[in-house]
């Protein structure tokens, strides 16, 4: 008698458990999927600025100095070497993303966060930065400085 009764009873219980578990799982997925997607921000329009005309005039930029400019929505650094050449780099330190600055006392680009040094070709020469700064192309047209990507 017991075997006869146990058979369908356990199958029924198994079915109910399976039914509950899958419904529960489906419910969780139905909640978690939209929430996860919600938490990830939509992709912003890529920093498309490929070319920027700066407001600073070449004559205003003294040799052995540098300044930050906006390259799209990221900072760039414009440097005039002691020899008078104008160069531009990404101002985002390759170590941990701080914004670099020009140090006229050592004629280098320098990151204050973790003491990273770059030479005037953007090469990482001291401290923790693992890669050189991205270099931009600089064109001086009359009294305008035009910086563009892909040097």
């Amino acid at each position: 008698m017991a075997e006869d009764a146990l058979g369908p009873e356990t199958t029924r219980r198994k079915f109910i458990n399976w039914f509950l578990a899958t419904s529960g799982g489906a419910f969780l997925l139905a909640v978690l999927y939209p929430v996860t997607r919600y938490l990830i921000p939509p992709p912003a329009g890529e920093a498309t600025a490929a070319t920027v005309t700066l407001s600073v005039k070449p004559a205003d930029l003294k040799p052995n100095s540098g300044q930050i400019f906006k390259f799209g929505n990221r900072p760039g650094i414009l440097v005039r070497t002691p020899a008078g050449e104008i160069r531009a780099f990404s101002a985002i330190c390759t170590h941990l993303n701080c914004t670099v600055q020009y140090r006229s006392d050592v004629s280098r680009i320098w990151c204050a966060c973790h003491n990273g040094h770059f030479d005037l070709n953007g090469r990482n020469i001291a401290g923790p930065p693992p890669r050189p700064l991205e270099q931009f192309m600089v064109n001086v047209r009359g009294d305008q400085i035009v910086v563009s990507k892909g040097a």
Binding site: C98, N115, P128
Partner: protein, 367 residues
């Protein structure tokens, strides 16, 4: 007069409440609670002290909410207004800032005292794990709260801190975008950090704190192995009122120290964050992140072909995991034996943190 009659509460309100919420059971529980008395009893006060400072944070945090505005355009100005115009605004914000620092400090002392006294021995492993998780939450509070004034140092601290999550293998980029609310640190990051700071972390803290306190209540205070064996007549004091009153003295002292610190060294605001300004010279994180910050500064660009910062971050990740799992790794302490290896590791950790923090604060920023 016997104890029973003296403490009897014949009040009608008491009886009415007792029938509905079981006050007598709670009273019995409270009276039963005892605190062991021995030469290390002083360390038992650190947990309660941390809890008190957390309550100060909740109270002042709620007050700050009334004026703070979580957007890149208004955050700095609203804090400026709070500090300059709102009566006692400076006091509330300074206490919030100082109590945060003191809380992290007492948390560290609490953690290391538990470590030295091996209070994580079975059956208190989960108490330790929940405590270490609470330390993680406290650091999360510190990190997210630091950005909220939207000033220069906060901006770059967040740049660096979130960039670090980007170094996590496989899911790094996902985590970074999740934290920043985009690819860069912007107003979206500020809004996100605000939500994390005032809603997500408090909810998680409430849950974990509940578990932590329940476990402390369930298991009682751990008696250090060195004391357990020797001192034969076991001494104890009732939690209510003896221990609690001593606790309160400590809390009053902490409050006085907080008020003095807030009055003499009010929280600073600095310059408003400018995404197009270089990182300020001499930039520093909060002191409890300093040893990690300084380590990242010392690591070379590449170690065995891997970027130095990745090695450093993975190293701290492994250290954190190790800290979490100590009760399961320290088999000697679990058997009630002396465990000099783990005591030694605690000493090494403390010395490492102190030395690197010292170096971080004494370095010449441009060198």
């Amino acid at each position: 007069m016997s104890m029973e009659t003296r403490y009897k509460r014949p009040g009608r309100l008491w009886e009415w409440l007792d029938e509905r919420i079981g006050l007598a059971d709670l009273e019995k529980l409270a009276k039963k609670k005892e605190v062991p008395v021995h030469r290390h009893t002083a360390w038992y006060y650190l947990g309660g002290m941390t809890l008190f400072l957390l309550l100060v944070q909740v109270a002042t945090g709620i007050l700050l909410l009334l004026y703070y505005r979580p957007s890149a355009e208004e955050a700095y100005e609203s804090v400026q207004f709070l500090m300059a115009e709102v009566e006692f605004g400076w006091l509330i914000r300074s206490i919030h800032s100082w109590a945060a620092n003191l809380m992290v400090f007492t948390l560290f002392v609490h953690l290391f005292s538990v470590w030295f006294l091996k209070a994580y021995r079975p059956p208190r492993e989960i108490t330790w794990v929940s405590g270490v998780a609470l330390l993680g939450l406290a650091m999360g509070f510190g990190f997210t709260g630091y950005l909220l004034p939207w000033n220069e140092v906060a901006f770059f601290a967040t740049q660096v801190g979130t960039e670090i999550t980007g170094a996590v293998p496989v899911i790094g980029t996902f985590l970074l975008r999740l934290l920043r609310g985009g690819d860069e640190v912007t107003g979206a990051t500020l809004t996100r950090f605000y939500g994390i700071h005032v809603a997500i972390l408090p909810a998680m803290t409430l849950l974990l704190m509940g578990l932590h306190l329940y476990l402390v209540q369930k298991h009682g205070m751990s008696v250090p192995p060195g004391v357990e064996g020797q001192e034969k007549p076991k001494r104890a004091m009732p939690f209510l009122p003896n221990f609690l009153l001593r606790d309160v003295v400590g809390w009053l002292l902490a409050l006085a120290i907080l008020a003095a610190l807030a009055a003499y060294y009010p929280a600073e605001l600095g310059q408003k964050a400018d995404p197009f300004a270089p990182a300020p010279v001499g930039i520093k994180p909060e002191w409890y992140f300093m040893f990690m910050f300084k380590t990242l500064k010392y690591l070379p660009a590449h170690i065995l072909g891997i970027e130095g910062e990745v090695v450093g971050i993975l190293g701290f990740g492994v250290a954190g995991l190790f800290l979490l799992l100590i009760p399961f790794l320290d088999r000697r302490a679990a058997r009630g034996e002396k465990s000099p290896l783990f005591t030694g590791m605690a000493i090494v950790a403390i010395v490492y943190m102190i030395v690197l923090t010292y170096l971080g604060y004494t370095e010449v920023p441009t060198q």
